[in-house]
Amino acid sequence: MSSRDNILQRIRTELRKAPAPEQPPVPEVWPRMNPSSEQLVEQFTTALEQVDGEVIRCGSMEEARRKVTELAEQLDAKPVGAVDCPACRDLLSDFPADRVAWTRDGWDPKQMAQLPAGLVAAELLLADTGTCVVVNDTAEQRLMCYLPPVCLVVARVDRLFEHMPAAWEEIARRTAEPQQRGEFVFITGPSRTADIEKILILGVHGPRRLMVILVG
């Protein structure tokens, strides 16, 4: 018998003795308040700032393009790293080709670690916690979230949900798709630690700064 069989056999033998409780209902967790999109933006901004993230609000894509160009200048990001996806392509469409380093298969993590900033796109945002939900299908996309010292996230205002339970239907559906690989990462503020004397320090392994470019 394999270890698998042994473990399962032991579990089955022991559980036969205990009565099985009924399957509990799915908790509602937070009630739905359906706030307006302006309220959501405000909530999101407050929550993200509380965890030391920054929000760059842009009314239109043109404005976002302009602001990200300025930002790249400020950060002296030559080039900016970016995930090769439609949202990031759109945002960086004004950038000269040599100023952007797109994710591509087999990218060396050592090179990625040298990038001054990395741009990723969030598929959903949670307003109550200031969270960006980023879907990463490849290791390079994942590394773009964690390796550069500044993490830029582009997201659309209409993808704001009031809280995790409100967004969960979509998240649950997408994680259940059999072809789904890689990870969904919920990013709530920059990398942080309080491991030495419980004093909060930002940017221990991941980015020191998290900036969300909120468009719409």
């Binding site: 579990i11 205990a18 109550d128 990462v185």
Partner: protein, 468 residues
């Protein structure tokens, strides 16, 4: 697995506990941090009107999961294997270590970066890998510090809680050849610099798992530093070790746990990173090791099943008056605090850890805060009962003789009188005999406490005088 290997080297529970109690400098940091965490937790949870509902819901879901463990594990295995993961099952820590070494050898791995995982602490994985000639680096800052200091974590969420910034600075100076500093930011920067190199050059990354979700085949892992993200995406191989009790039935149940865990674990509404990992990414390999290592022994005892519902948030440690004074090492094994006292006796056996359930005042603070409402004081009493019925240090010949003598003395007035006389003489004598000559068990008590003064005449003598 020879459970003797698992114990902290040379640390019998009682001795460690006494040392913790005896060295206020050592436990002060732990105690203060624990008090701060508790206060913070009270404010956070008090502000949420649904908090008690969430606890009950989480408890019911975890109990349901334990009652269906076999089906859920098979479902999880099937679903994550369908997404490209290789799932392995290990009965013991030894077997799991062997699996990790085999994977490492197969892929010619020389160095491993690790995210925080209590299961790998339980396996003593680092020691096994080292013995096999494979370099392992803990990448959680607290774990990294503890590993450099060649120590053990004192807390399951904040492993280096017992060390001051100055001590960390000295350690980095000594081991990493860095100029001394006690600045938190600089210390963190030093660790970042050194660990960056490790991430980039590692051949394999390891992680634990907070929730293994059966219906989608997803692993949910929470962290703050980004080291789990890096450990699981930089190297070409990711190995996740998961205790079999970590499985939950459905992705739909996850939000309530995520709401609870970060708030009790670290006082955040969500941790900086919550990863939902489903399967491999192109060009990478993912191995899952499902570990029993004594967990099915807990199933054998129906009264103990709730101990398997723990989500390892560490809150019961922070509120525990014993943990606050004694610190994490006092418990003699990887899981300290109240939760350690109720799972270690099952996992390493009563013979090793039979005294742990007695190291509690049964005040109940732990079950007040437990996010999955584990009845820890009841579990402790249940284990005390078992400890005196089964072979354990609480059931030694000395203990048995003591209780038999007590029963004998209590079952007749003359015997009682004789016993009381013996006690008065004994206490007086112990006060006169120098402490260093006290027998071990007595000294454990008298080292930190004064002997009570023997009061004037005994009650019976006094009573007689009242009615001549």
């Amino acid at each position: 697995m020879n459970s003797e290997n698992l114990h902290l080297e040379g640390a019998s529970f009682l001795k460690q506990q006494n040392e913790g109690l005896y060295e206020p400098a050592g436990s002060k940091a732990t105690g203060e941090a624990a008090v701060r965490s508790t206060d913070k937790n009270r404010v956070i949870t008090g502000a949420i009107p649904y908090w008690q509902d969430w606890r009950e819901q989480a408890r019911d879901i975890k109990r349901h999961a334990v009652a269906n463990l076999d089906k859920l594990l098979v479902e999880f295995e099937r679903n994550i294997a369908a997404r490209g993961a290789t799932v392995l099952w290990a009965e013991t820590a030894e077997e799991a270590n062997r699996m990790v070494i085999d994977i490492a050898r197969e892929h010619d791995v020389r160095s491993v970066v690790k995210g925080k995982s209590m299961v790998t602490e339980e396996m003593e994985l680092n020691r096994s890998l080292q013995a096999a000639g494979i370099r392992t680096v803990e990448t959680d800052l607290g774990e990294y510090i503890v590993q450099l200091a060649k120590q053990r974590p004192t807390h399951i969420v904040t492993p280096a809680l017992h060390l001051s910034a100055e001590e960390v600075g000295r350690l980095f100076h000594e081991k990493l050849d860095e100029p001394f500093t006690s600045e938190h930011q600089q210390l963190t920067d030093i660790a970042r610099r050194h660990l960056r190199e490790e991430f980039i050059s590692a051949d394999m990354g390891m992680s634990g798992c907070n929730f293994a979700i059966a219906d989608t085949g997803t692993m949910a892992i929470v962290e703050n530093e980004g080291n789990v993200g890096l450990s699981t995406s930089t190297p070409p191989i990711h190995v996740a070790t998961i205790g079999i009790e970590k499985v939950i039935p459905s992705i739909h149940y996850l939000p309530v746990f995520l709401q609870l865990l970060a708030r009790v674990g670290t006082g955040q509404s969500l941790t900086s990173y919550t990863h939902l990992i489903h399967g491999t990414t192109p060009g990478k390999k993912l191995y899952i090791i499902l570990l029993d290592n004594g967990r099915t022994r807990i199933l054998r005892d129906p009264a103990a099943h709730n101990a398997l519902t723990c989500i390892r948030c560490g809150m019961c440690l922070n509120v525990c008056p014993v943990y606050r004074r004694a610190g994490g090492w006092a418990y003699g094994w990887v899981y300290p605090g109240p939760i350690g006292s109720i799972i270690s006796p099952h996992l390493v056996g009563m013979k090793q850890a039979g005294t742990l359930p007695f190291a509690s005042s049964l005040c109940g603070a732990c079950s007040e805060v437990c996010p999955v409402k584990i009845d820890i004081p009841h579990q402790l009493v249940h284990l005390r009962h078992r400890a005196v019925c089964e072979p354990s240090p609480a059931n030694s010949i000395l203990d048995r003789l003591t209780w038999r003598a007590w029963a004998w003395a209590m079952s007749g007035p003359r015997r009682y009188k004789l016993a009381m006389w013996a006690v008065r003489v004994g206490v007086r004598a112990a006060g006169v005999i120098p402490q260093c000559l006290h027998v071990d068990k007595l000294r454990a008590w008298t080292r930190g406490r004064e002997l009570p003064k023997v009061p004037g005449p005994a009650f019976r003598k006094w009573w007689k005088r009242q009615r001549p």
